[in-house]
Symmetry: C2
Subunit: 387 residues, 2 copies
């Protein structure tokens, strides 16, 4: 086990009807709030009017910034920063999924910073202050509701880049599984792929003696795998929605990566794909992750055997560990297919003509990989395996 | 899954050599520190002089309060509160195991309170302020390093009572597994029993649909069960010590109890035993827990079958679930015995003459039990099963 520091102070408020508590939780931070959200879905569901009412009941002055898109854009972050400064806004309430939360996080670090907020995403500067952020989560997927990360797409060159720092964890996040009843099956499935990727990018490591976190990772994966078909069958199954929602937070609050080297290659490759082609992040992951696994499993075949056995109940073939490892990868692909996700680039209509460009961008700012350090050639190879 | 709120902001600093960071972590809170510890073991190990040096290097004025006993006493808490007030002490550094940390927590809430700190332990008042507390952990057991609980013994009547409130979580806790190398085997084993009890008192619940936390509990228990024989054999096995130490924190920081009713009967009964007989808490738990299990397993036999299967790999006897459940309980007893713990009151030289008195005290201030609500008669029955 490696030395580590872990701190996740985000307050989780979980369960039925909990969205009513947002205004009260924000109260200590001021009385001018930026309400940040995506499209019309929260209006259609009635969540918008509930939230506005509870904010007004607590005497908040509300400023709205809506229209956050999947793969949230830097231009809207700039807009949010400008609005917060002009109106002296005290705090942000993000109502939505990972895109809305990430956009809100970027605004939150951008407001007190004198330079260009994009500096934080290309390693040119590190944030030192933030305005307080609360969350009402409507889509379990990115884990952004309690994570220290935030991913923004810069339209100028379509760079999709992340920022990781404890400072940007939300003050509180409200998780009501009922709010996820109306998610379309494809979005639910994409969320599941993202949750599983967050766990697996921590699980596949060369760090020895990480038993507790191995077991916790397997526990989280198994819970998600078991409950996903239940919600695909019955989107209003509270208990299964709740398991997936809480798993989504645990998957990415940092606990499962304590004491181990992680490997975020698949996420990084997917960011290039969705940066250019604007595909759903989870769909991209369902394509890239198995390809990455096939490319690297021989480096630590025992770990892939353990994964096959402990996550997918594959019987170990002692005379052929590689076959066992491959069977584990196959089960993952089958699972993704079974919940309606693509597992090839072809299904996403992504041609091979820009593989080289994406590979170059992928390794441009920071080195990537853990289990295996990646060159741009490796990335092209993985993309070819994903065709 | 029940609605819940969960927040554990304690910063965990884990690994080799991390004790050097304590002074720097305390720095933001002031320059007068109460150094709180137990007996001479931290002096013998050299930890004391390392810590004092690093505090002096950061210009701290150090006030010492040592001599904390197992089952920490209210009288010393009073002493600590008096000292902190007289010297205008800014913060506390607890160096030791659960007793030292709990004593420090009680001092920390006592200092800003005008009344008697014991009020908090009998439900007469709730704390509203605290002075900051940092921890260097030397014994993985109570989980107090990140928990919201604290247990103190009032010598006037030998009442052992707990306080549970998020406010008392330490600001940071330093966990270096190397500091546990010198723990005697019996103390290591007692710590393990305490860790396992913290998980099991959350695991045995009637709350339906708690799959994620079930799996996380099983993961934690299995890790502890696997690594304990390793450290009994080789006390200087860093990796096994690390697994147990991190599991001890996870077991009791609240995560594993999210969304479920818990049942703290065994801990409560043990508090009566160690309150009167001053036995090691973990040894008392090793005796009480299996007895409690035998008394209640029929109430939710499926859960005890799941425990036998998922924690101890007991093969399910479909025609006789009760036999499977009992086999799980037997495995736990065997495990405790194998690491040198008692499993009967007789081994602790505790006679039956005060069972009734303990049972009365146990239910005196607050109702106890979750899986089954306990009367004083139930407590006597459990103690009889533990004879």
């Amino acid at each position: 086990m490696n030395n580590f520091t872990f701190q996740c102070p985000t307050k989780i408020i979980f369960g039925r009807g909990t969205e009513d508590q947002a205004a009260r939780e924000l109260k200590p931070y001021g009385n001018k709030v930026l309400l940040h959200y995506g499209g019309g879905s929260i209006k259609k569901s009635g969540l918008y009017s509930k939230v506005v009412k509870s904010l007004k009941d607590e005497d908040f002055e509300i400023f709205e910034l809506s229209g956050v898109k999947p793969n949230p854009r830097l231009s809207m972050v700039y807009e949010g920063i400008k609005l917060c400064r002009e109106k002296n806004i005290d705090c942000i309430l993000a109502v939505g999924g990972g895109s809305v939360i990430d956009s809100a996080k970027a605004i939150a670090v951008g407001v007190p910073y004198n330079g260009d907020v994009w500096d934080f995403f290309i390693g040119k500067a590190m944030p030192e202050a933030v305005i307080p952020l609360g969350v009402i989560l409507t889509l379990p997927a990115t884990g952004s509701e309690a994570s220290n990360s935030c991913v923004i797409t810069n339209e100028d060159g379509w760079y999709k880049r992340g920022l990781n720092i404890d400072l940007i964890r939300p003050k509180f996040s409200i998780l009501n599984p009922e709010l996820t009843y109306t998610l379309p099956p494809f979005q639910t499935a994409c969320g599941v792929a993202d949750i599983m990727a967050h766990v697996m990018e921590r699980y596949f490591t060369n760090t020895p003696h990480v038993e507790l976190t191995d077991r916790l990772c397997e526990a989280t994966l198994r819970t998600v795998i078991k409950n996903t078909p239940v919600v695909m069958e019955n989107p209003r199954d509270y208990d299964a929605r709740a398991e997936i929602m809480w798993a989504g937070t645990i998957a990415h609050n940092g606990l499962l990566g304590t004491g181990r080297q992680e490997d975020w290659t698949s996420h990084k490759i997917e960011h290039e794909l969705s940066g250019i082609y604007d595909i759903a992040h989870g769909a991209g992951l369902a394509v890239v992750f198995p390809a990455w696994m096939k490319y690297v499993y021989k480096i630590n075949v025992n770990r892939f055997v353990q994964y096959a056995k402990k996550v997918w109940d594959v019987e170990t073939n002692l005379s052929d560990p590689e076959a066992t490892a491959l069977e584990g990868i196959k089960r993952l692909e089958q699972f993704f297919k079974s919940i309606g996700l693509p597992t090839t680039l072809k299904e996403l209509d992504i041609p091979s003509d820009r593989f080289e460009e994406m590979a170059q961008k992928c390794v441009k700012f920071t080195p990537i990989g853990g289990l295996k350090r990646m060159t741009s050639e490796d990335i092209v190879n993985i993309l070819n395996l994903a065709k």
